[in-house]
Amino acid sequence: MKACEGAAPAGITLDEVTVRYGAHIAIERASFAVRPGELMALVGPSGCGKTSLLNAINRLSDLIPGCTVTGNIAVGGRDVRAPDTRLTALRRQVGMVFQLPNPFPLSVAENLRFPLREHGVSNRDERDRRTEEALRAVGLWEEVKGRLGQPAQALSGGQQQRLCIARTLALGPEVLLFDEPCSALDPLSAGVIEALITGLKGRYTILLVTHNLPQARRLADTVAVCWVSEGCGCVVESGPCGVLFERAAHPITRAYCGGEVG
């Protein structure tokens, strides 16, 4: 399913990244790296700029009027804002899953086939094969194989979210950005998604935004903690999961990860 089977997926490096909306600074001078195949959890209170940071990595921020990004962001060692970066290629390499499931108002199967067609998979059998493969990868195939032609909107919230993950996986990404993928779902569906992400670990480089600290602890190799001070967000500390939860250096991290504030 991946673009280059066998080889390690691309890593992410952020160096002094600042995201502004007009004059308002959403997150300032964020620096961290997610190594190839690693899962980093990005935690922190609402409004500290986690979503803004994710949007800067796949350049969805280009679409927001007034949004400017400074600093350096590299995926697989390549600057995402280099003039020769093709947006379609970048967004195929870096998949994204949102808080609210956002399937297209198409059939279940067409939600995967349509992006595949757009990305130049012109052979119908090949599209169907990759559709099935992706739906199997998210454990949805058995549930929907009898109703591939029905509207995706008729699926449950959890199934829709898995469909969106399958839609992203079908394009063969190396990096996955998850923006609170479980927080709009019931606990049972959230558990299914969490298990699914666990299964994806290692094969993809994953940046996961979550409010659920126990979940971060269960899933993450490394953790980055964001905080808001004086109206602008920043990354206060990042490092291996164990270190941040047991022996954090920064008092904010100690308080937040220890469950005292936030």
Binding site: L87, F104, P115
Partner: protein
């Protein structure tokens, strides 16, 4: 909802009677027109040519002219209108200065009296472009007239689609063209159909703008370069210029209302079909 006090009760009664009156008025008009026009309605009336200046005979040529003018109008207005609406919805950020200015000018254009469009169409299509009094001149003039409304309502429909569709398409690196064709336009199809219905209604009801452009010859047109009389022009002529033409005018009005209802039904069906088709 609970209503306290005598003053509130009075206000409620006032509003209720006002809305009843508003509903009753068009109903009364319809009953009046149908009552006066239905007795003369027959199959022959629908295809026979008029006789004795429309006091006798039928309205066959006018139905053909009306449909031809409408077809020309829609063929010109739909692609241009949908294109403009797509441009406005996709490329002009909502609430920006450009969006406000463009919206305002469209609203002003939409409020311009049809007779002004008639004079404009006469000058541009009939004289400057040499199309003369013809179905083509009339249809193109009507297209100009309905465009502001068509654009505005379609733009609203496009903007009302959930932003999550666009977000998903962008995150997947889809082309804008593919997204528009496959997701956005089908999702907005019912709203675009509503815009179409409003435009058709306005075009069918128009007489002033057509007097100067399509003309009022009652002959069956051979081509779009011939002059032709629309149903609304026929109604106007019978009731204003022909003594004893009221009966014919009422019957023609019944046909016009019937035609309008039929087209509305078709457009609505079409919108829903498009909406459903995209899932396949």
């Amino acid at each position: 909802m609970r209503i306290d006090g005598a003053r509130d009760r009075w206000a409620a009664a006032l509003f209720a009677s006002a809305s009843l009156m508003i509903m009753a008025l068009p109903l009364l008009m319809l009953v009046e027109v149908v009552g006066a026009g239905l007795p003369r309605l027959s199959l022959e009336f629908l295809y026979a040519p008029p006789m004795d200046a429309g006091r006798a005979g039928g309205i066959g040529p006018m139905i053909v002219s009306t449909l031809a003018i409408l077809a020309v109008c829609l063929c010109a207005a739909l692609p241009v209108g949908l294109g403009c609406a797509l441009y406005l919805a996709e490329c002009v950020p909502a609430g920006s200065r450009a969006a406000r200015a463009l919206g305002y000018s469209l609203d002003v254009l939409g409020g311009v009296p049809s007779i002004v469009f008639g004079l404009f169409g006469y000058r541009l299509f009939a004289i400057e472009l040499g199309l003369g009094f013809s179905i083509l001149s009339g249809g193109l003039t009507l297209a100009c007239m309905v465009l502001p409304l068509l654009i505005r309502v379609s733009e609203e429909a496009l903007r009302a689609t959930p932003p999550s569709y666009r977000q998903a398409a962008a995150a997947l690196g889809l082309s804008q063209g593919g997204f528009l064709r496959r997701v956005l336009v089908p999702a907005a199809a019912p709203g675009i159909a509503a815009a179409l219905i409003l435009s058709v209604g306005r075009a069918l009801a128009e007489s002033a703008a057509l007097l100067f452009t399509a003309g009022y010859v009652t002959r069956l047109p051979d081509s779009v370069f011939d002059s032709g009389r629309a149903l609304a022009v026929h109604i106007y002529d019978l009731s204003m210029n022909v003594a004893g033409g009221e009966g014919g005018a009422a019957t023609t009005a019944v046909v016009l209302v019937g035609l309008l209802t039929l087209i509305n039904l078709c457009a609505r069906r079409l919108g829903q079909a498009l909406h459903r088709m995209q899932r396949a």
